[in-house]
């Protein structure tokens, strides 16, 4: 990839670091964003941000140190702090940072036409408001934001990679009496979003959920929307695939390699090379070329996710799963675009309880997988259409066991953050009425 001449100081940093440590890695992010927020139907504030973050990682005799700053002018202090931290770290097996290879230069998630223009944010809000006007609900809040960022990764083995990302995100909240609706969407390309639809759906859920009826406690056929499913999957199942958690005894899936962990129709994989997806990249945060990782095939667990540090320690191969959290965050094992796939069906043909969202999924037990959450915007659905709304109930179970009981996947998928998911049908889901 093309080397970005504007950050020549990174060359100085690497030369300086090499005087003290075996290897080092530099991660530098710069970005701008603009956003506008609604209070009810009027724009209340507009924001622009100028972000930058520098992360340095040093490796010396198997001791890994790191530091970060958002003031690149003070890179010398940051380098000293990384080296000092490394002296405290327990040494581990280490076989080197990656060597550079030639990768395609075209970014995967970059809209060259996207500009951080407050006027565009205002237009997006107006379109959402137009959509919301289709249903009798009051808009309470909303937001539209646009961002452009660039990422540079360099290491002492000669890697000089650069990538560019763009993002647009929208959200709208509405209320009708004591019934709320929330909808959002995000994409890398402006043209991939439908703001009117986001507004329409928020207002629809607020108005259509009003006057819900109670539901008796029992086991029901349930369809979880991609939002509700993402809450449970993202808080419990995905972290259990992290190789570090697995080898250090913090994953319930640790003993399940080669065994069924989900219904045979289910596939789970990370596809970092998916064009126009928000997590797409050609290299991970350590410079390992990113590739598809098949975690679950035909319901059977195939592999866990590794970065270099965990792979070297446990004699595994990195899966290119290193990520850095935010601006200047530490490296960790994560995913790029996590996808649940498999044979698709019509899952709304019989009478089912449709759960659009849940409240409190972050309180699920990440070790055991047990959860009990409040459901929101739940409806009885008949012949694929919304019938009567359900007022309030809890839903409880176990996220790991639930995957063995998945009885169908919807035809459509949706991106929820870095997860791309269908709706899932469960035949016997426990619901606690009030």
């Amino acid at each position: 990839m093309r080397w970005w001449v504007a950050v020549a100081w990174i060359e100085d940093l690497i030369r300086e670091g090499q005087k003290s440590v075996d290897e080092l890695e530099v991660f530098y992010v710069e970005g701008t964003s603009v956003s506008a927020d609604l209070k009810q139907k009027k724009i209340n504030l507009a924001t622009t941000s100028m972000d930058c973050g520098l992360g340095i990682r040093t490796i010396h005799n198997g001791r890994i140190g790191s530091s970060s700053t958002n003031d690149p002018g003070t890179w010398r202090d940051c380098l000293r702090a990384a080296i000092a931290g490394g002296k405290l770290a327990t040494p581990q097996a280490w076989n080197g940072l990656p060597e550079p290879i030639v990768l395609p230069a075209a970014p995967l998630s970059f809209d060259p036409g996207l500009e951080c223009d407050p006027g565009i944010a205002r237009n997006l809000l107006r379109q959402m408001l137009d959509g919301a006007a289709e249903h009798p609900a009051e808009v309470t809040a909303g937001s539209a934001s646009l961002s452009v960022s660039s990422v540079v990764l360099a290491n002492s083995h000669g890697i000089r990679y650069e990538d560019h990302h763009t993002g647009v995100s929208l959200s709208l909240e509405a209320i009708h009496r004591q019934s709320t609706g929330y909808e959002f969407d995000h994409a890398c390309y402006l043209e991939d979003l439908d703001p009117r639809n986001v507004g329409e759906k928020a207002a629809f859920f607020a108005s259509r959920s009003a006057d819900g009826k109670d539901i008796p406690t029992g086991d029901y056929p349930v369809v979880l929307s991609p939002l509700a499913y993402a809450e449970l999957l993202g808080n419990v199942f995905v972290p259990a695939l992290n190789g570090r958690s697995v080898h250090s005894g913090r994953s319930r899936l640790a003993q399940s390699l080669g065994r069924p962990v989900a219904d045979p129709r289910i596939a789970m994989y990370d596809d970092p090379l998916l064009p126009r997806a928000s997590g797409s990249t050609r290299w991970d945060a350590e410079g390992t070329p990113a590739r598809r990782i098949d975690f679950v095939r035909d319901g059977v667990l195939q592999t866990f996710a590794y970065d270099l540090k965990t792979a070297y320690r446990y004699d595994k191969k990195t899966t290119g799963s290193a990520v850095r959290g935010g601006f200047g965050g530490l490296t960790a094992i994560g995913h790029h675009n996590f996808i649940v796939d498999g044979k698709r069906d019509t899952i709304l043909d019989e009478r089912v309880l449709y759960v659009h969202n849940v409240v409190g999924a972050h309180t699920a037990n990440p070790m055991s997988g047990d959860y009990s959450v409040e459901i929101s915007n739940a409806f009885w659905m008949e012949d694929g259409g919304f019938a009567e709304p359900v007022r309030s109930a809890m839903m409880s179970g176990n996220v790991f066991d639930m995957h063995r009981d998945i009885a169908g996947l919807s035809k459509e998928s949706r991106a929820v953050g870095s997860l791309i998911l269908p709706s899932v049908k469960l035949n016997n889901q426990h619901i606690i009425g009030k």
Partner: protein, 443 residues
């Protein structure tokens, strides 16, 4: 600067030191640095806001250019934002018993390792301990010539133990975080307790969901106050119309014995010497003897809504301030713990929490207890795991029928609008009748 009705600038610099020990291995340790500012300008209508990483204080032409840029942004706003009149002033930051900066990172690491080591047990498969120390230098100024600066240090640790047996995996999690200085010394009992709970949970049962009486310990009752009342009383949500407490000032929504307070001036983990808009911090009684008394406000929501006090604006470095809780608690009552259990008679006793969530517009909240015990004839019997409760704001508070006299605060973090701020929640032991309990147990 023509047209500018108001501006303020909040600049925060600082450093974060962390240590992560996982099964005896120092995974990472070190210090990172940050420098962030946020400039807010009120022009003719609403806010124009600039968030700047790596800010260098400036004045004259350069500062005017920034103001001009914010004015341009404000040009797309439509709502006319007014700011309420507020008292200004800053409280002293409580002195630290021992400044963490005076302790070397090697010593910190070895003390943390002692806490992690204390979680050793034959059934514990993983022990993990983290130390975090965050020092912030905050500088605030506004166009009305108010200016403040202060330094705050928050530090603390978490220790987790994971126990497993025959595919059953359970965790115990203990923590302590404080504004009162270095707190890693003589804390091994936290590691030991995490291990004991993780191991005990291997034999705990799952509760059957449904309605039952519940005794909440001070930590969990604090989370209840935070989720069931605190968020719904935030003035920005009242202003937007997304809280069931809108228009409820003076209305009775809970039992006589219930008083719920948010107090940023209290020297707990959520303490602020001055709020993020330069407003003096004050104790706010949200619920007084069961009646909605006052909302939590920033200057904007105070002007728009009234019925409450400002001084509750808080922000992460470089982020625009939002209306937030700080130290939130249920006031002591006069019941003893024995009276509370006797009155509960048959039900559950719930302890600890991984947090909760609320939909304030719908008036529905959920919160979780890490573990608990069945209460049979006023006595704690079988241990139970992973219990969540849900409730409706406008009806549940009537069912708090006893409050103990043993209030205790617990530190934590609260998320809203993508920002996480330090808070503490607390309460005495309380009795909640007919709690809606979610559980996956069959009998």
């Amino acid at each position: 600067m023509p047209g500018v009705r108001y501006y303020d600038l909040r600049h925060v610099t600082g450093q974060v030191t962390h240590i992560d020990i996982d099964n005896g291995v120092v995974e990472s340790a070190g210090t990172s640095f940050f420098n962030k500012a946020v400039l807010r300008v009120l022009d003719r209508n609403g806010w124009g806001i600039i968030q700047i990483d790596n800010y260098t204080p400036c004045n004259g032409r350069k500062f005017e250019d920034l103001i001009g840029e914010a004015q341009k942004l404000a040009g797309i706003t439509e709502e006319v934002v007014e700011l309420g009149d507020v008292p200004h002033g800053i409280l002293p930051v409580p002195p630290m018993k021992e400044d963490p900066r005076s302790v070397g990172i090697e010593e910190k690491s070895s003390l943390l390792a002692g806490i992690e080591e204390a979680a050793r047990h034959p059934l514990v498969t993983n022990r993990r301990a983290n130390y975090v120390e965050r020092i912030e230098q905050v500088r605030f100024e506004d166009s009305s010539a108010n200016g403040y600066s202060y330094e705050m240090c928050r530090s603390g640790f978490n220790v987790m133990a994971v126990a497993s047996r025959n595919g059953n995996v359970q965790m115990g999690y203990e923590r302590d975080h404080t504004i009162h200085g270095f707190d890693l010394r003589h804390r091994q009992e936290y590691g030991k307790k995490a291990a004991e709970i993780a191991v005990a949970l291997l034999d705990a049962g799952a509760v059957k969901g449904g309605k039952m009486h519940a005794v909440l310990d001070p930590e969990l009752a604090g989370v209840f106050a935070h989720e069931a009342v605190g968020h719904a009383s935030e003035g920005d949500l009242i202003q937007e119309g997304s809280s069931v407490l809108k228009g409820k000032t003076g209305k009775k929504i809970g039992s006589e014995i219930l008083t719920i307070v948010d107090d940023p001036a209290l020297c707990g983990f959520g303490f602020d010497p001055v709020d993020a808009e330069g407003t003096a911090v004050l104790r706010t009684e949200i619920i007084r003897r069961g009646v909605v008394n006052a909302f939590l406000h920033n200057r904007e929501s105070l002007a728009a809504v009234g019925n409450g006090t400002a001084g509750h604006a808080r922000a992460m470095p470089g982020e625009p301030p939002l209306v937030r809780m700080s130290n939130t608690f249920i006031e002591n009552g006069d019941a003893t713990e024995a009276e509370i259990f006797a009155e509960c008679k048959n039900g559950i006793f719930l302890k600890g929490s991984r947090g909760g969530q609320v939909d304030p517009g719908r008036g529905i909240f959920q919160f979780n207890a890490e573990y608990g015990y069945l209460v049979e004839n006023g006595e704690c019997t079988k241990m139970i795991r992973d219990v969540s409760l849900s409730g409706e704001i406008l009806s549940t508070l009537h069912r708090i029928t006893l409050c103990g006299n043993d209030r205790k605060m617990s530190p934590g973090y609260c998320g809203k609008g993508g920002q996480s701020v330090p808070v503490s929640d607390g309460a005495p032991h309380v009795l909640l009748l007919d709690a809606v309990v979610g559980g996956s147990g069959l009998d």
